[in-house]
């Protein structure tokens, strides 16, 4: 299978995007943590103030998946800010369905993302990877990525809604 296209996601793609999000979460062993719905994706990605940008990989109908899907990969990203170097492109999710790997789709997605980053004056592209996910870490390191958690000691923290609400009512 050599033909595929990469294009900007459209509102009609939200059902496929959610399907792929869940597949990736399943691979990351955290599928039960996905509470996002198609409605959220529509509102948050295609409304007045998009919170994310998305690119999808599409194959021709003759190469559709066993379940009849032609959208076989996606990347979701947005712009963030580093007070030291300015604008960054943050890669939130990046996934290609298992049976479509090895055809250069992932590499092409990454290339398009980095072109977008350079074109929009971003100094860097950041993302997170689980430390046990050796195939992905190797994929990125082969292409020149640096692990800031190992090299500089950065740890990711979260504060969930309950504690956020508590904090927001503090003086």
């Amino acid at each position: 299978m050599d033909k595929f296209i990469l294009r900007r996601a459209e509102p009609k793609d939200v059902s496929d995007i959610l399907r792929l999000i869940k597949e990736l979460a399943n691979f990351e062993k955290m599928e039960d943590q996905v509470i996002l719905t198609e409605k959220d994706l529509l509102e948050d990605g295609f409304g007045d103030h998009p919170f994310y940008h998305c690119m999808v990989a599409e194959v021709p109908k003759q190469h559709q998946s066993a379940d009849g899907h032609v959208i076989v990969g996606f990347a979701m990203y947005y712009f963030t800010y580093d007070p030291w170097i300015g604008k960054l492109l943050y890669l939130e999710d990046f996934y290609v369905m298992k049976e479509y790997r090895g055809f250069g789709i992932g590499s092409e997605i990454l290339k398009k993302l980095s072109e977008t980053a350079v074109r929009t004056r971003c100094s860097s592209m950041h993302f997170i990877v689980a430390e046990w996910n050796k195939p992905s870490i190797d994929f990125y390191k082969r292409r020149g990525a640096a692990d800031l958690s190992l090299e500089e000691g950065w740890r990711l923290f979260k504060i969930d809604k309950q504690n956020l609400l508590k904090m927001s009512s503090e003086e």
Binding site: V34, M76, Y81, S123, G144, W154, E170, E171
Partner: protein, 171 residues
């Protein structure tokens, strides 16, 4: 001591630049700061701001020995979790050493939490250096969870030449 927390204005960027450098010195990485107040003004106050910032100010009678009344800041932006939806990422939180212990850090963070709540964000994320015990204690006391320790997430990046190389890779 009395203080106010207000959204940053373009004229605050020189103070924010000063405090960004102070924080970078504390994080032992001052040589990594490449942008100035000019980029901060352009990127935070144009038609499409890449970050939001709130600043803590004390009355003139409490100004610092160098004559500053802007004594702390929090810089943050919206991000998107494919699992949970809208989130806020707090990129920087800083209070000048001589103004700590007066509730300013807590108030800055409460302001960010309030904004997150108003924008229907479900989570606040941020990163902390693994040796930064005072900050780790501050955040853990507020209910923060270390996702690097708990789930193994590492920060990776494509920066500078690595990003350029990626953008130029043949498909």
């Amino acid at each position: 001591m009395k203080f106010t927390i207000c959204p940053a204005k373009p004229e605050d960027c020189k103070d924010i630049e000063r405090m960004i450098m102070e924080l970078a010195v504390y994080e032992k990485m001052p040589d990594q700061v490449k942008i100035s107040h000019k980029e901060l003004e352009r990127d935070g106050f144009g038609p499409n701001p890449f970050y939001q910032c709130v600043v803590a100010e004390v009355p003139e009678e409490h100004m610092s020995k160098d004559g500053h009344t802007k004594v702390g800041y929090a810089l943050f932006f919206y991000t998107y979790s494919t699992w949970k939806g809208r989130t806020v990422f707090m990129e920087d939180l800083y209070v000048m050493p001589e103004y700590r212990g007066k509730g300013i850090g807590k108030a800055l963070m409460a302001t960010v939490a309030k904004v997150a709540k108003e924008q229907h964000c479900v989570r606040l994320q941020f990163s902390v250096l693994d040796w930064n015990k005072p900050s780790l204690d501050f955040y853990l006391a507020k209910g923060a969870e270390d996702l690097t320790a708990k789930e193994g997430w590492h920060f990776l990046r494509f920066h500078g030449i690595a990003l350029d190389n990626l953008a130029q890779e043949a498909p």
